[in-house]
Symmetry: C2
DNA sequence: CACTCCTGCTTAAACGTTAGAGCAAACGGG
DNA sequence: CCCGTTTGCTCTAACGTTTAAGCAGGAGTG
């Protein structure tokens, strides 16, 4: 059959850069009509198929560029059976500054890896802790994203468990020792907390020390508390310690500090499980007319960017959220490629960040 | 034709909750086979089409729930000609904490509005200021997202201009007075800067005052500088002022403060065009043994969450980024619905936030 | 010169969805 | 009892892509 010379007068001549009707997108068909070959030939030409002649390829590429052809992602996804995007699932967004920054760092890392693969990124929020079928499950089952990175799930989130069992392409952020089959990227919080605790005890000689923990149904606070106790034990010094529980919020940190300062009047140092609670503690300590670090030393955890800004600067443990995002994305791509990530559960190291809140640096 | 009683033994009986082969997604065909009707009937039943009988609808919904059917988004997008997601485009991610927080606030707002519409969110980054065809154009032309919200474009970004002219469904964050046809959501920075400037002058009597501006090829710094001058003029007092230019970074703010303190030794107040530069100025002032606010009062702009944490707390102008995100999304949806947003260029008001850095509050 | 093989394309099918057209049966009115 | 209307579904086509299969013509081989 004769190539049918394009549909009735869609393009007048061969004038360059005269895009179609505004609303209409340029498809393979348009490029094909432009070049005078079939649309599959165009597809193959753009894919650099060996069975397409070089002159044709050149002509196709020129025409595609001229018309501004961009492959329709829905068409591709449908044909391929998988979309070219991944999702990042963040919990209900009711958090505050510190939590925001965590996700932003994570996102930066994920984005970097996704960009390198030319993969689009979707951000999905888990409306509530248990809004029936979780958002990510809908995202995955609708094939809108071919894989997901789930940030900050509760230690016993039923969705997470089900997901891991269903072998969906999901990477969890955090340690999930109870789900060995799940692919996860966690932080070595035990080591991090131990390191900072030992710093307080061994370098600064502070042996009366309190810990403000987060809710103990999450792995992270559990690990940090464990590291705290391990640090005390391994310091080789006799320490007195106490524990108060917060919920990672500044206000709860302040309340916890209140409780500690009331009950342990000779406390020398407070180590909070995150910077936000540490900041709350700072406010409480100050409100009592005490000085940091002279009267009470203070340490936090996370270092997502604001612990630097307080006065005094907050000594803390740096959690490499950006690296974690990058690693999580890499693991997810391995999962999608079919190659099971070598250690399903990877753990990244932390870094002790010394500032002024723990006292003068040792010479 | 007889309904063909499902494909060979895919489901044994009617046992509930027995999902298909792990990898295979559940499609309309599966539900149709389960119920014993055609797939289009299933589609119509799920869409609550009036021409489908109630018993059939019930049966279909039950079967869909039982099998865990989730519509394939690629299929839908392809058929509908538009995807059910929108994109948020953020500039190259090389920014620091403050910038991160801005986007996070914005994202929270956009997410809220998108969730209400059951629309997915893509996050795309503009690799470089001019990476050939911009990321968002690819996203839009590939129909991966049906609209985009572009955060923080330069005042004379050629892509933005072209996009506005091409009438793509895009909402710009920021004021774009030169592009009247573009839909944008901006901040009333002139008013905000005027207000804080007048506060410094009128309430605190600080008449020797310097402004640290951002790069003047962006609308925001221009507006804030204009507001600064307007504030001085309208204060009704004779003021001496000076100007230094930074790039919104902490370090540049510090450098600008250095320049100001060197050249204007009797400066009483510094108003920086964002909190990050104000923090840099704070460091410089302190390094010189001067006190804030006793020796030099300080004010910033943005209030994305960290200006509260410094000591002294930073007096600043609150930019309602979350509201802007929500509004931008709403505008985008209006655009996609075909109803042109009433005022194409909307401007949200700011709020003065008084903290300690500007001096003691007037009783 | 007949044959095989290669080259370079075309045709067709499929992915999952939706919607308009079509059609059989039931139902009501005359 | 027959015809028109309504009801409730089925059939088909289309969205844009990729790819397997097919096919015409030319080149090379016997």
């Amino acid at each position: 059959m004769v190539p049918l010379a394009a549909a009735p007068s869609r393009r007048s001549g061969a004038g360059p850069a005269a895009p179609r009707a505004p609303g209409r997108a340029v498809t393979l068909r348009d490029v094909a009509a432009e070049v005078g070959i079939s649309q599959s030939a165009v597809s193959m030409a753009l894919a650099d198929h060996p069975r397409i002649g070089q002159p044709t390829k050149d002509a196709v590429r020129a025409a595609a560029a001229r018309l501004g052809y961009v492959p329709n992602s829905a068409g591709r996804a449908l044909r391929a059976g998988r979309s070219s995007s991944i999702a990042v699932v963040v919990p209900n967004t009711g958090q505050h500054v510190f939590g925001h920054l965590y996700f932003m760092h994570l996102l930066v890392g994920v984005t970097a890896e996704a960009n390198a693969r030319d993969v689009a990124l979707m951000v999905s929020t888990n409306p509530d802790e248990s809004h029936g079928v979780a958002a990510y499950e809908r995202v995955l089952r609708s094939r809108a994203a071919s894989g997901a990175i789930v940030a900050s799930a509760s230690i016993n989130d039923p969705n997470v468990k089900r997901m891991a069992e269903a072998a969906l392409p999901v990477v969890l952020i955090g340690r999930f020792p109870h789900l060995p089959q799940a692919v996860s990227v966690g932080v070595d919080d035990v080591a991090g907390a131990e390191q900072i605790t030992r710093h307080l005890v061994e370098e600064h000689g502070l042996t009366r020390i309190a810990h403000i923990s987060g809710p103990l149904d999450h792995q992270q606070p559990v690990d940090r508390y464990e590291g705290f106790r391990a640090g005390l034990a391994r310091s080789g010094r006799a320490c007195t310690h106490s524990l108060a529980i917060g919920d990672f919020s500044e206000e709860s940190g302040r309340a916890a500090a209140r409780q500690i300062l009331d009950s342990m009047t000779d406390v020398q140092a407070i180590f909070a499980a995150n910077d936000e609670m540490a900041y709350g503690a700072l406010l409480e300590i100050r409100a009592r007319g005490l000085r940091v670090p002279e009267d009470v030393a203070l340490a936090g955890y996370d270092d997502f960017g604001v612990s630097r800004l307080t006065t005094p600067g907050l000594t803390t443990v740096h959690v490499p959220a950006e690296d974690m995002g990058r690693l999580a994305a890499a693991q997810l791509f391995r999962l999608l490629d079919g190659t099971a990530p070598e250690p399903a559960q990877s753990v990244v190291p932390t870094r002790l960040v010394l500032r002024e809140s723990c006292g003068p640096h040792a010479g």
